[in-house]
């Protein structure tokens, strides 16, 4: 197959697997993030701060493991953008090959009313001060922001070039056809606005205020995202998936809180996707099992559950309408032997009846640290899944 044929083949492989149609083999997705940089022999700071190095690392990743699609193209941690302002949330530690993420609230609890009155004004005037000393002491200049814009341009150029290389040189398809992000307000409050600590406190102290905060925060991503989704005509057969939803806040929500603050916005997205027959990768970090019953009535093949800490076999029993993505656990990839890894992959494919559709093999977590996977294990699984026909 030439690369154009390969893109078509791989796209259909994903679409057939998520749609519970027979496949000649199971598709294999890379969910590696910063591991790619370390595995290619670079330091994290080299990969994250030099787009040529990142390009080489991603190409080396595909050369070695021959995935059917790569989910993350070096865009999770855009550290160069904030370097010019001397601040940000990430701390790169090359000694241990890790990125630390500060739980850095833009809004303290005694500022929540002010934030809700005008969220954009608050983030501009006060939120930015908490991230960037130059903004706080008033020494920020037009030239600093110009550098950020130029950096954003460089990033977009890198990203476009990366996609082109993967498509032209490797025959890799576009994974998701979604240009406008749709992001529930409660998750944005958790990740960026209030942070883990403040949100946890206010949910218990003043739930009514969280209702209001969700409503105003939805104006950033959820409301425009839903409007854009309403305009979509339907599935885009040129991409493996039509849509992508990644959530983290549910890891601190009990069932009552989930139903009150997350489910209404998540449901709006899923209902529209269901209505338009559009497929979605739903990645709920940690455990999603407590909320599975909400997903039982969606049409078969619309939702693909990317599982992190939940058992794929249990998910198949509970949600026979949802395809499963993941299953290849980092515990085995990082600590097991190649034989144990292949055994695990085979057990998943056979046990889930994956050649009849409904399963895509991938790592069960974002592969981040060097210890998350051994190269020979990743290779053994890739070789196996490319050739296994049952």
């Amino acid at each position: 197959m030439n690369n154009t044929e390969l893109i078509k083949y791989r796209t259909e492989l994903f679409r057939n697997a998520s749609g519970f149609k027979k496949v000649d083999r199971v598709p294999h997705l890379s969910f590696a993030v910063t591991w790619k940089i370390l595995d290619a022999g670079y330091k994290l700071s080299e990969g994250l701060r030099n787009y040529d190095v990142m390009t080489k690392a991603i190409c080396a990743h595909q050369d070695k493991y021959n995935f059917d699609a790569i989910f993350e193209l070096g865009v999770r941690n855009i550290v160069r953008l904030v370097d010019h302002l001397g601040g940000g949330t990430y701390i790169i530690n090359d000694d241990i090959g890790a990125i630390e993420y500060k739980d850095n609230a833009l809004v303290e609890l005694d500022e929540l009313d002010e934030y809700m009155k005008d969220p954009t004004k608050f983030i501009w005037e006060k939120g930015m001060c908490k991230k960037y000393p130059k903004w706080a002491d008033g020494t920020i200049a037009v030239a600093d922001l110009q550098k950020c814009f130029d950096e954003q341009k460089a990033f977009l150029k890198y990203f476009s070039n990366m996609k082109k290389i993967l498509s032209k040189q490797y025959g890799l398809p576009t994974f998701t056809a979604q240009s406008v992000p749709c992001y529930p307000g409660i998750d944005f409050l958790f990740n960026s606005i209030l942070g883990i600590k403040n949100l946890s406190i206010i949910m218990r102290r003043d739930p009514g205020k969280v209702d209001e905060a969700v409503k105003v925060t939805n104006e950033f991503f959820q409301v425009p995202g839903i409007a854009a989704l309403k305009k979509r005509k339907g599935p885009n057969p040129k991409a493996c998936y039509d849509y992508d939803i990644a959530l983290l806040v549910h890891t601190i929500l009990n069932r009552k809180q989930f139903d009150r603050w997350l489910w209404p916005d998540l449901k709006d997205q899923l209902d529209l996707l269901n209505e338009k027959d559009m497929t979605v990768r739903l990645f709920m970090e940690g455990h999603s099992k407590p909320f599975w019953d909400h997903l039982q009535d969606y049409k078969k093949g619309i939702i693909t559950m990317h599982l992190e800490q939940d058992d794929p076999f249990e998910c198949r029993q509970a949600l026979p309408n949802c395809a499963i993505l993941g299953g290849m656990d980092l515990l085995t990839l990082g600590n097991g032997t190649p034989e144990q890894c292949v055994d695990r992959a085979k057990a998943l494919i056979d046990g889930l009846g994956a050649l009849d559709g409904g399963f895509i093999l991938s790592q069960d977590k974002m592969v981040t640290y060097a210890v998350d996977a051994k190269s020979e294990n990743m290779k053994a699984v890739s070789d196996f899944v490319l050739n296994y026909r049952g």
Binding site: I78, W124, G127, C129, Q146, F149
Partner: protein, 50 residues
């Protein structure tokens, strides 16, 4: 005496000011003021999140 506030850090004054001063991805001024402002707001939001 109170230090004069940097206009960039004020909203919406800072947005108007930056719209006039910044080269926003090569988009022409005057013709695309609305889009330029939208992209500046988006950049600030991205920076605040990172």
């Amino acid at each position: 005496m109170e230090k004069e506030k940097n206009i960039i850090t004020c909203y919406p004054e800072g947005l108007d000011y930056l719209e006039k001063k910044l080269n926003v991805l090569g988009l022409p001024r005057f013709l695309m003021t609305g889009l330029r402002k939208k992209l500046i707001k988006s950049l600030i939001l991205t920076l605040a999140r990172q």
